[in-house]
Every structure is written in structure tokens, then in C-alpha cells.
């Protein structure tokens, strides 16, 4: 059993005893003072005992503390491993981009002529399948909302070097249409001439595509894409007796019964430097003349080079050719070709970037032929939120829209 008296209490008792013994020899005032002090000390001791008792009542036992520790440990473990998003077999992700733009042409009034929203849906099941789909939702000239399916593929991840895509996919010919065209990726407020709809570069295809990559030597890499699809729709202007356009947005039909094969091989001898060669061929039966087959050929080369974080250079050449057919209302062959070179420089660490581009587009129609110099400045609020300012010096058929110089502003956001 513990000693019930502490040092202070013993001192008080001794003082009391001494007071009693010495009281006959001291004055009455001194005795009274000592008594008061004794009473004060007694009260303090009593208060301390009360405080001690109340603390003992509220203090947790060692066993209780241990139980709480175990509980905290368990909670920490759940927090660390219990993220069900991280362990789910299926993952859903929404990506995409949007853009708004203003254009002022040389011979037309300026206006806000671009409002687009492109949501991209990703649904992945383990490391086996990925569903990808992109919509392009756009406000048309007449105020109507236009919706197009840019691409939608079910991707079977076969192994480390091959992925099989089935559905509507972006054309792998060249780089721009498959990788650079999203507004937050393209450094210009416009596409290079010849790389728009119904021009020289194929846009998309419906069929199957095999894609992948390999390591080459120590630091080199290669990537490939091969596909077979329905091919483009050849539009004929019977009145003019010429091929109007090669529509290559990706057709879910094959009226001529012929498939088109194509692909691209890309080589990166060193990181940051890529060369690519593309091609496609098959037979096509133009719209309304599906039985009058003619050759279809596409050929392209591309290159891209990044130096550090500041410099970005790229260039591409693409050509589509539809062969002749004597029995057709448009018997002559038609060739659509375009190329461009582009350079960009970031003023790091500032958020400004400048870009310059030269392009040339040739088609069988003089009104479509165009040559273009373009310069631009971009302000990067973030890597995916960019304001673009650009000026195009266009040289086309006199009086045609292709000859109008243009000033463009675009705000784009990729997510």
C-alpha cells in the first residue's frame, strides 16, 4: 500500500506539532498567523485530493488506450488499401476538348464561327479491352447543333506489341488527322490546308486496324498501324465531268464491294525524332457508278522533331489519287495532295509560344488550290488551356474564299 502522506503533508504535521509544543513560549499573534497558514495548507491539500479523484475517474485505462491504438491502425489500413476505384476491373474515364473561335476574313465580316465540344469516352476492362469513342458536337452556321461520331472502336489489347481496333477509327495515314487535330493539341487555330474535310488527307475509316510498337536497338523505337476498311466515297460531278471530292469520313457501307488496305510505319531513331511513311490502296466505285471500279491510292510521309521543351518542328505530305475510268461520267484521274511545315517555340518559363506554318494544297479544282503562310502566338494558361492568335496569308484563286487572308482567335481547353 502506498504511503498516504507526501512530503508537504509531513511538513505541515511537523509544523502543527511544533506549534503545539512551542505555543506556551510564543506570542498570541504568531500563533494566530501559524494557524491561518495551517488552515490554508489544509484547504489546498483538500483541493488537490479532489482534483486527483476527478482525474482518476476520467483517465482511460491502459487496456482502453491499447484498444484505441488498434482501431486507429485498422482505419489507416482501410484508407491505404480500401480505394475501390483503384481495384475495380472496369474503369470509366471522360476526356475530350472544346473550342470557341473568332475569325475575321479579308472580304467578310468577322464573327464567332466556332463552338465545338468533343467528349471522348474511355471504358477499360482490365488490360484486355478498351472502348474509345469521340463525339464532335458543333454549332452550325444556322444555329443547329450538329453531332458526328469522330471515332468509336473496341480495342482488344492482344499483347505488349499489338492492339486490334474494330469500328470507326481515325485514319493512320500521317500524323495530323490521327494525333494532332484536337484543338488543344494543334498549335494553330486552324488545320493545315488540305487536311480538312473532303481534301487531301483521309480522315477516318470503318473496319479493323492493328496497331502497336516495338523497341529498336537500345534507344530507338518503331510503331505501326495496318488496316482494312470500306474505303472512301468518291463523289462525281457528272455535269462538269470530273471527280468532285474524295469523302473519307469513314463509311458504314461498302457499295462497291471493294475494301481498301492501308497503314503507316513510324521510326524513332532517337527520342524526339520521328519519321513516318503511310500508304493505302484498293479499288473504289464512285457514288452512282459503283460497278465502274477505278484505282485508289494514297501515299504520305511525315516527320516530327522536338528539341528540349521549347522547340517543336513537324511536317507532312499526303496525296490521294483516284485513277481513270473511260466508261465513267468523269473519266479522268484526279489527284489531291497537300503538305505543310510547321515550327513552334516556347518562351520558357513564360507562358507564350510562337508558331509559324507554311502549307500548300492542290486539287483538280482551281478554286480549291491554295498556298498559305501563317503565323501565330499562343498563351498557355495551362498545358491544356490555351488562347491562340493567328494570321493566315492565303493565296488562292482570285476572288475565291481561298484567297482571303484571315485573322483567327481561338480559346481551347482539353480535359
Amino acid at each position: 500500500m502506498k504511503n498516504r502522506f507526501n512530503t508537504r503533508q509531513i511538513r505541515i504535521i511537523m509544523m502543527g506539532t511544533m506549534l503545539a509544543l512551542l505555543s506556551p513560549f510564543v506570542s498570541a499573534d504568531a500563533v494566530s498567523e501559524l494557524k491561518n497558514e495551517l488552515e490554508l495548507l489544509k484547504k489546498q491539500i483538500s483541493d488537490m485530493q479532489q482534483l486527483l479523484k476527478s482525474q482518476q475517474k476520467t483517465m482511460a485505462s491502459k487496456k482502453e488506450v491499447e484498444a484505441v491504438k488498434q482501431e486507429v491502425k485498422g482505419v489507416k489500413e482501410v484508407a491505404r488499401t480500401g480505394n475501390e476505384w483503384g481495384i475495380a476491373d472496369s474503369v470509366v474515364h471522360l476526356a475530350g476538348y472544346a473550342a470557341v473561335g473568332y475569325t475575321d476574313s479579308e472580304r467578310a465580316d468577322g464573327g464567332f464561327n466556332l463552338v465545338t465540344f468533343n467528349p471522348i469516352f474511355h471504358y477499360q476492362y482490365k488490360d484486355l479491352f478498351l472502348l474509345e469513342a469521340e463525339l464532335e458536337i458543333e454549332v452550325g452556321d444556322d444555329g443547329e447543333t450538329e453531332v458526328e461520331l469522330e471515332y468509336a472502336t473496341i480495342d482488344w489489347i492482344i499483347n505488349d506489341h499489338a492492339v486490334l481496333l474494330a469500328g470507326k477509327f481515325l485514319s493512320p495515314l500521317g500524323q495530323f488527322r490521327q494525333n494532332i487535330h484536337p484543338t488543344w493539341v494543334n498549335k494553330f487555330a486552324s488545320a493545315p490546308i488540305g487536311y480538312g474535310h473532303d481534301q487531301a488527307a483521309p480522315l477516318a475509316e470503318v473496319g479493323v486496324e492493328l496497331r502497336g510498337g516495338f523497341n529498336v536497338m537500345q534507344s530507338g523505337r518503331a510503331n505501326y498501324a495496318v488496316y482494312v476498311g470500306n474505303g472512301p466515297l468518291i463523289e462525281i460531278d457528272a455535269g462538269e465531268g470530273e471527280i468532285e471530292a474524295v469523302e473519307s469520313e469513314g463509311l458504314a457501307s461498302n457499295e462497291d464491294g471493294e475494301l481498301v488496305w492501308g497503314g503507316r510505319l513510324g521510326i524513332l531513331p532517337v527520342p524526339g525524332l520521328e519519321f513516318g511513311v503511310s500508304g493505302a490502296w484498293g479499288d473504289v466505285g464512285p457514288e452512282g457508278e459503283e460497278n465502274l471500279l477505278r484505282d485508289y491510292r494514297a501515299f504520305g510521309v511525315d516527320a516530327a522533331y522536338q528539341i528540349g521543351s521549347a522547340w517543336d518542328f513537324r511536317g507532312e505530305y499526303i496525296r490521294q489519287r483516284v485513277g481513270s475510268q473511260a466508261a465513267s461520267a468523269a473519266p479522268d484521274a484526279a489527284t489531291f495532295k497537300a503538305w505543310y511545315l510547321q515550327g513552334a517555340y516556347k518562351f520558357l518559363p513564360s507562358k507564350w509560344e510562337v508558331v509559324a506554318r507554311y502549307g500548300d494544297y492542290e486539287s483538280p479544282h482551281a478554286s480549291q488550290n491554295q498556298e498559305q503562310w501563317a503565323i501565330g502566338a499562343n498563351y498557355l494558361f495551362a498545358s491544356n488551356a490555351i488562347a491562340k492568335f493567328a494570321y493566315e496569308f492565303n493565296d488562292g484563286l482570285k476572288g475565291a474564299a481561298t484567297d482571303d487572308d484571315r485573322f483567327l482567335i481561338q480559346l481551347t481547353y482539353g480535359f
Binding site: N83, H122, N159, D160, H161, N223, G266, P271
Partner: protein, 100 residues
């Protein structure tokens, strides 16, 4: 015309067949020699590959922009777009997940 078409079909068919055969063989070899069929990603290699490949097309994105689980489908998408190998993809993925 028919001959060119046959050559084209043969050329791309041969590439596709070769890729499939090589890929399946590589997978089978991995299965035979290791319990873990798919090698894990390497953060160090991933950091280098992230720096080398993402800017081939677009501005670099901060690893902190997305959660771990969201980087997975993003990287699968970018693997297909950029022609990365599966191992490159896993390396970059673990780097992004470790850096966000």
C-alpha cells in the same frame, strides 16, 4: 490492278500475322518462365519515357491532374495513339501514379 491488290493484301497480312505470332510467343515465353505474366512497371524508366514521348504530340500534362485509377485508361489510350509498347505504357503509368 489485281496483282497490286494481292501484293498489298499479302504485305499487310504478313505484317499482321508476324505481329500476332511474335506477340503470342513472347506472351507464352513470359508465362513459362515467370509466375507473373505481365512485368511490373519501372518508375525510373517511366519518368524518362514520359518526358520523351508525351511531347511528341502535345504539351506535357501534370501527373497531379488525374487520380491513379484514371491514369490507367488514359495511358491505354495514349499507348494506342503513340504506338507505345505495353511495357513502356506500364512504366509511364507507375511513374504517373507515383507522382500525383
Amino acid at each position: 490492278m489485281k496483282m497490286q491488290k494481292l501484293i498489298g493484301i499479302g504485305f499487310f497480312g504478313a505484317i499482321a500475322y508476324s505481329v500476332l505470332v511474335v506477340g503470342i510467343q513472347v506472351t507464352q515465353i513470359n508465362t513459362a518462365v515467370a509466375d507473373e505474366v505481365v512485368p511490373a512497371g519501372d518508375i525510373g524508366r517511366g519518368a524518362g519515357l514520359w518526358a520523351q514521348n508525351c511531347a511528341r504530340c502535345h504539351n506535357m500534362r501534370d501527373p497531379k491532374e488525374f487520380r491513379d485509377d484514371l491514369w490507367k485508361p488514359i495511358m491505354s489510350h495514349m499507348r494506342i495513339r503513340a504506338g507505345l509498347t505495353g511495357q513502356d505504357t506500364r512504366d509511364i503509368l507507375v511513374f504517373l501514379q507515383a507522382s500525383n
